[in-house]
Amino acid sequence: MVKFTGTDLVCYRGERTVFQGLTFGLGGGEAVMLRGANGSGKSSLLRLMAGLGRPLSGVIGWQGQSIADDPEAHNARLHYIGHHDPVKPVLTVAENLGFWAALRSPKEDTNAVMAALERLGIGHLAGVPGRFLSAGQKRRVNLARVLASSADLWLLDEPQTALDKAAEHSFFDAIAEHRSNGGMVVMSSHADKNLADAMEIDLGKFQQEARSGGAATGTKQEVQA
C-alpha cells in the first residue's frame, strides 16, 4: 500500500525553479534512490519531504493527508540525516544521542542508544565528548541517532559521506532490517552502491523540463516587456 506520496511537486529556491512535475509514491518496505548532478535538487527534495520547506506547488502526503496539516505528527514518523552532524562538542556521545532519543519517546531507555552505537561499531565512544571525534565518527554518531529510536520514514541525504567500508556495510544492513520491518527509505547518493531493489528518481529529468519551461516564460516576458 502506498503511504508516502508526492504529487506534481514544484520546487523553487534561490530565485530559480529547481525541479517541477515530480511525482512519487512509497509503500511500506520500499526505498527510493535520488540521483542527479550537483544542484539538481536532491537535498531540496529531501527537505521538502521532511517538511523543512514547502513546495511552490504540489502536495506531499502521508496516507492521503498533506504533511503540512500536522507537521508534528509528520516529524514523529521521520528521521532525517542532513549535511551536518549535530554533535555537541561539550556533551558526550551518549548524552548527545540520549537527548535526541528522549525527545522522541520519553520512556526510551539508554539501552537503545548503546545498541545503536554498538551496531555501528562505536560503542566504545559512548563516554567520549563530541569534540574529540573525527568527521567519520561524528557521521556514525548521527547515523546511530536514526537507529536509536524508531520511525517509519528515513530521509537520508548522502549518508555515506566520510564513512569507511565497514561502517557503510553495517548501516546498509540496518537499512535492510528497517525495510523488512515495513519502514521506508529515501536516500540520495553519489556513490554507485545501490540499495537492494530500490526505485530511482533521476532529478536531472525534472530539472531539464523546468529549465526549458523557465526559459520559455523568460522569453515570453521579454517580448511583452
Binding site: 534561490g14 530565485e15 530559480r16 548532478a37 544542484g39 523557465g214 526559459a215 516564460t217 523568460g218 511583452q224
Partner: protein
Amino acid sequence: MFHRFANPTRFLKLADVIQPWIAGATLVLLGAGLYFGLFASPPDYQQGETVRLMYIHVPSAWMAMFCYSALAGSCAVALIWKHPLADLAARATAPIGAAFTFLALVTGSLWGKPMWGTWWVWDARLTSMLVLLFLYLGYIALNNAFDDPQRGSKSSAILALVGFVNVPIIKFSVDWWNTLHQPASVVKMGGPSIHADILLPLLLMAAAFTTYYLWVLLIRIRTEVALGKIRARQMQKAQTGYKG
C-alpha cells in the same frame, strides 16, 4: 502557480499607463502647494516666516507613518499570500519612508533652532520619529543582509510586522518619558489651532507627497523587476555552465 513570472508583466503594463498621470499630478500639486505655502499664506503672528517649514515638516511626518503602514501592509500580504509584487512593493517603500522620516527630522531640527534656540530637543514627536527611522534602517539592513534576496525579504517582512505592532507601544512609552522629563510648555508644532489659510497648503503638500511616493514607488518596483530579470539571466548562465 507561475505568478512570479506572470504578474510583474501585467504590472509593468499597468505602470506604463499610470506613471505619467501620477508624475503630472505630483508636479501640479507640488507647484500649487508651494505657491500657497510660500506666498499666498500669511506668516504666523508668533513664529513669523519659519512657520512655512511646517508645510514640509508635517506632511513628511505623515508620510513617514503612512509609508511604514504601507510597508507593514505589503509585508503582511507577502507573508500570507506570498504575492511577489508585495515583496517588491515593501522593498521599494522602505527607503522612501526612511527618506520622509529623515526629512521630518531635519525640518523639525531646523524649525527648532529659531523656536527653542537649539537644533535638537527631545520632544516626544521628534523622538518617536527618530525611533521610527531606526525601525526603517533595521528593515533595510536586514533586507540586504542575505545572499538570497528571498530570505532577505521574508526575514525583513517579519521584522516590519513586529515593528508595526511595536510602534504604538514605543509611541506611548516615549510620550510617557517625555512628560516625565520635560514640562510640556514648548510650542507644539502643527498644534490644535490650524487655520484655514494654513490648512489648504498643508493638504496640498500632503497630497503632493502622496503622489510623489506613488511615483517613486512605481519607478523603484520597475527597477526591482529589471534587477530580478538580470539575476535570472545570471542564474541561467550558472546553470548551463554546470552541464558544460
